[in-house]
Subunit: 296 residues, 2 copies
DNA sequence: CTAGCCATGTGCGTTTTCCGAACATTGAGT
DNA sequence: ACTCAATGTTCGGAAAACGCACATGGCTAG
């Protein structure tokens, strides 16, 4: 049995006017002019065949029928509101972001306060990972990664900036060694085992044979380098602050590694992830413009 | 706190498709094409940021979010339907009609079957009355009356036809009397005490002094006339059948009484009363065209 | 009593939404 | 491989909705 519901738009206008007590207030709530509300109510009265308001213009009262209808409609629209809110992917709620740990600490967290100021209703939940992304397996909405194409299926790819790497060590270590880092241990990270090889190939440099030390994460390795325990190859975003403060130096500058930082967004409608990635892109642009690594 | 409800039209299309299981069935229920339903649902998915259906085109299933939304929307739209039905003045239900008793019997009831055939959902409730109409006091929706302007305030006035009256009596009575109805009692009705006087004045005729007999209603009086108990002045609609069948005759024909039959409709929106009065008007037109009283 | 204010009502032209029609795509069944 | 039924997409037109300007009608203050 089909329902017999008149113009939903007219029902909405009437409900707002009846609830708020004034057509002008209903117009305000609905972002239309009073005349639009007036016409919708009049149309509804015509369709229903009964007056909904009575009394003089400047002091309208609901009729008995109008009051009955209002009660039912307010219930119905409230129910709709609740239902829609319970499923809608709106611009509030939680956003899950996966990101390499050191990038999170050195680049993302120092900037994230700006996103949170712009979108206070979006709660960004960070998790650390450098693993390849598989959106059919992984639960996060956005992943930040460094690498090369091809990027995984089911992802929107947002380029942030190319990776630039260089050999870095404490100034005191460099003062005590040769241009080939003679006698200075080579520090490696498990998350980027080919860092040294790639840098040497691209820079055309050679280094002396030295003891090799391996760390779990970039962050640990960089702490060791700053402490004068060795020399490592690191991306510019991870060390720009340390170099600025003189904790580390890059005697041969930085050059592009052939890798790129990207944000991978799960390719489904998600306003929060869209907003986040737009923000990421703008932060990356600002970063590239304001922070240029030393060349070799 | 304003609600955040997307396009109501889109919500309605989705609810129908989700409930009925097919977009084509929703289209049928909503009297649109499938493509309109498809577009509304797609628009809703965009706005909500979630898919509502999944699976291949020819075998769509609700998503989890879609099923949640459907449950809430079905409740809401049902509530709207109930509320609207409880107050709407629609084309079904009861219609109260007040009408003089004899006109009801002799004119209205023989025609009413046609209204009921056209509008089987309207139940016409008849009550007999010739009293002046006061819609602020009386409970009926439509009143049929005979009389002259001014008609009461708050009423739409629908002219049916002018009243034509004539002196009528049984043919056997007329065979035994003179042109002045010598020796034939004059029959009167309480509901129209001035009938004789008006007719004599307008016709320019004179009648012999005869015994006067008074009846409560026209119907009783006309029965007496048919039985040969006297002569009376009656409106043409009340006697046209009796004259056609030879139960009564009108030796001097009929002439306009200066009164008019009108339908008085309570001047408020009421589809049933509007439809009824339109029907009355058309029946009156047909009656005037097909039933001409004999002239004098 | 008059003028001003506020709220709703009305007409007209413009904008937006909604739609049908035509065609495209995709599974399932024969 | 073909057919059918169901949904998806594009384009142009129709209908609904709207803003704006003006009209109407109580109420209040001076």
């Amino acid at each position: 049995m089909a329902r017999r519901i008149p113009s939903l738009n007219a029902l909405r206008a009437f409900e707002a006017a009846g609830r708020l007590g004034r057509m002008t207030q209903a117009a305000e709530e609905l972002n239309v002019t009073h005349s639009a509300v007036s016409r919708q109510i009049q149309h509804l009265e015509n369709v229903l065949g009964i007056p909904l308001f009575e009394g003089p213009k400047n002091r309208l009262r609901l009729t008995e029928g109008g009051a009955t209808l209002l009660a039912g409609l307010t219930t119905a629209f409230d129910q709709m509101d609740i239902s829609v809110r319970s499923v809608a992917d709106t611009e509030d709620g939680q956003l899950d972001v996966s990101c390499p740990g050191t990038f999170t600490m050195r680049w993302l967290i120092p900037r994230l306060y700006r996103f949170q100021a712009n979108y206070p209703n979006i709660e960004v939940r960070l998790s650390a990972s450098s693993k390849p992304v598989d959106f059919s397996r992984d639960g996060f909405d956005v992943a930040i990664r460094v690498g090369t194409a091809p990027w995984p299926d089911g992802a929107d790819v947002i380029s942030l900036f190319p990776e630039q790497t260089g050999a870095v060590l404490a100034p005191s270590s460099f003062a005590e060694t040769t241009p080939e880092f003679d006698g200075v241990p080579q520090l490696h990270t498990r998350t980027r085992l080919r860092a040294w090889g790639d840098w040497l190939a691209r820079s055309g440099r050679s280094v002396a044979a030295s003891p090799r030390v391996e760390y779990e994460h970039f962050y640990f390795m960089l702490e060791a380098a700053s402490a004068g325990l060795g020399v490592c190859v690191a991306p510019w975003p991870y060390v720009s602050d340390d170099i600025r403060f003189g904790r580390l130096m890059a005697p041969y500058g930085f050059l592009e590694s052939g890798h790129e930082y990207v944000a991978l967004r799960r390719a489904r409608r998600n306003r929060k992830s869209v907003l986040f990635c737009e923000w990421l892109r703008s932060e990356a642009e600002a970063y590239v413009r304001s922070s240029t690594p030393p060349a070799n």
